[in-house]
Amino acid sequence: MTPSPLVALVGNPNAGKSALFNALTGARQKVGNYPGVTVERKSGRMSLADGRPVELLDLPGTYSLTPSSPDEAVTHDVLLGKQEGERLPSALLIVIDATNLDNHLRFALQLVALGLPSVVALNMIDMAARDGLTIDAEKLSAELGVPVIPTVAVRRKGIDELKAALGMMAAGGAVRIGSDHPALHEDIATLQRRARGIAVAATTEENFRRRWTHRADAVALHPIVGPILLAAILFVMFQAVFAWSAVPADFIDAGIQQLQSAVRGLMPDGFFRSLITEGLLAGVGAVVVFLPQILILFLFILLLEASGYMVRAAFIMDHLMARVGLSGRAFIPLLSSFACAIPGIMATRTIDDPKDRLTTILIAPLMTCSARLPVYAVVIGAFIPARDVGPGIGLQGLVLFCLYIAGVAGAMAVAFVLRRTVTQGPPPGFMMEMPKYQMPILRDVVLGLWQRALIFLKRAGTIIAFTTIILWLLVSYPKPPADYDQPAIDYSVAGRIANAIEPAFRPIGFNRDMALALIPAMAAREVAVSALATVYAIDAGDEVAQEQSLIDRLQGRWSLPTALAFLAWFVFAPQCISTIAVVRRETNGWRWTGFMLAYLFALAYLAAGATYWAAVALGL
């Protein structure tokens, strides 16, 4: 069977490429990676008007074919058939923003000049009309020499016409383009002037105004109101993570407990019953409970990106970031790292200054990722009273906010030091397009959340389930002899390992169970919680105690300074294995990866120690 033709979706950033991709492929998408680089490969299947299947490939948005950042290099290499693991595209679907013709036409001209069969989607034609612009698509088509189809991707307008036009184009085989192709070496300024000429000829303008964006920017970019607004948005985001998740989390928790008692009722007491209830369900359940919180966090990040506010946040943060030697551009990957460091580190590919990019990668793990939320949530839930310290401000949410701030402050301090020592270099510039504000599309947000939920549940079902089962075995065996008078766990393999490393952690207030939890937490942060859940489930022994929640158990066993030290540890603790793998791939080796692990470990140890000693000295 011959594979279906490959159509590459290309265009400037902010042309509405993702919305068009979603409209064309629906939920039939595949997100993966290119070998050797961390640029995401996003492709999906779509059917043409006559039913023929086509694979649509969403290439990273770029301004030209000059490959300077890793992102642009992928777009360049795919079009030239040089990208490892990718077929040559048979046709191009070029997306341009109708409200920003002169700029987007320049890249379109360069792409059309490559000579591949091409179709142009003149996207956001409704917004252009609202701004007072009328665009003659036929005139554009005549100038470019390829079909131009007006579309409104978010409202699925023009999608059928686009598929029909693509059907005529994607028939032929793939064409290989040499790197000496003249279109690759055209002068930007010359192209830009041609683009402007075409744009002026094809557009009728009537009182051009972008009222919405202007009014919103007057507030969002105001020198005083802007930063306050940004702080408020971030604060609401972190409060919501706690406040909105309580009900669904309780619901999931209750479901898992019912499942545990159902299994206890069905199975005779023995190895497998313990494995399932104390190992698998206690461990995986402790993590799955946090799905609502993680989704709420991702919801905010997706909304900030889709609305266009994220770039405004970068604008506001630029001056502060410049003080530590970074640029506002680094703010976006860093904010994404709050959800997960992996997409955050991957988002650094848009930073073209290599030193700026390396520094951002090295500090991204200090942004509190959502996998650390379960750890924070359990410890805060156990030790910080749930009372209000002000109208609408809960103490627990406030402590959580402080933990996030501690991570940010640590990251800034580390960046400051790195930029003056190991990643020294000229200060990076800050140049960015500020896209117009847009109403986020419900369908695209839901799709994004769905993909995140799947990734999380897949982790819970594989790596987390696997590590908790291993841990449960290590914690449960060998069984102590009948006359053993110490806790059963001390006799197990895990207990012995933990007892061996515990002296190293005793100075910073960690007990044996915590030392034990740190080991599997290397696989994934959340496992620290399931590890504690497993350890205490075994330790508790009788069934009445097993019905107790992890929070109740922690309250009896840890002192407040110990709990605070544990929180401080996780602010800085070295990353999970997946993040380490991504950093290794992104920095091309173990050198910077090792450096990152070492500095994170040292910071975590010192921070936990300082917290413990300070808390003890204060008599907490």
Binding site: Y63, S64, T66, S68, T99, N100, L101, D102, N103, R106, I188, A189, Q192, R193, R196, F208, R210, T213, D217, L221, H222, P223, I224, G226, P227, V311, A314, F315, I316, D318, H319, A322, G328, D352, D353, P426, G429, F430, M431, M432, E433, M434, K436
Partner: protein
């Protein structure tokens, strides 16, 4: 006050004032910044309007270039000379 017909560097242009770019001192910019500026549509003869300044009133600035709004730092903006609007 200075002569309103004399070109001023973009970083010195007052807020909400517009003008046409008369010259860009490319040799003051490093290669990467110069290419980014061109990609964002900065060119001689293009209309530019200064819209916003960053918090603390310094860096960065936001300008309208053609139909786009772009952010840049004053260090780079200083290389862009803006003259009076030629035709309304």
């Amino acid at each position: 006050m200075s002569d309103p017909t004399r070109p001023v560097p973009l970083d010195k242009l007052p807020l909400r004032r517009d003008g046409d770019i008369v010259a860009i001192e490319w040799d003051r910019l490093d290669e990467r910044d110069a290419r980014r500026l061109r990609e964002l549509g900065v060119d001689e003869g293009v209309r530019v309007e200064k819209l916003h300044k960053g918090p603390f009133g310094i860096d960065p600035i936001a300008c309208r270039i053609g139909r786009m709004t772009i952010a840049l730092r004053t260090a780079q903006a200083a290389a862009i000379l803006v003259g009076p609007v030629k035709t309304r």
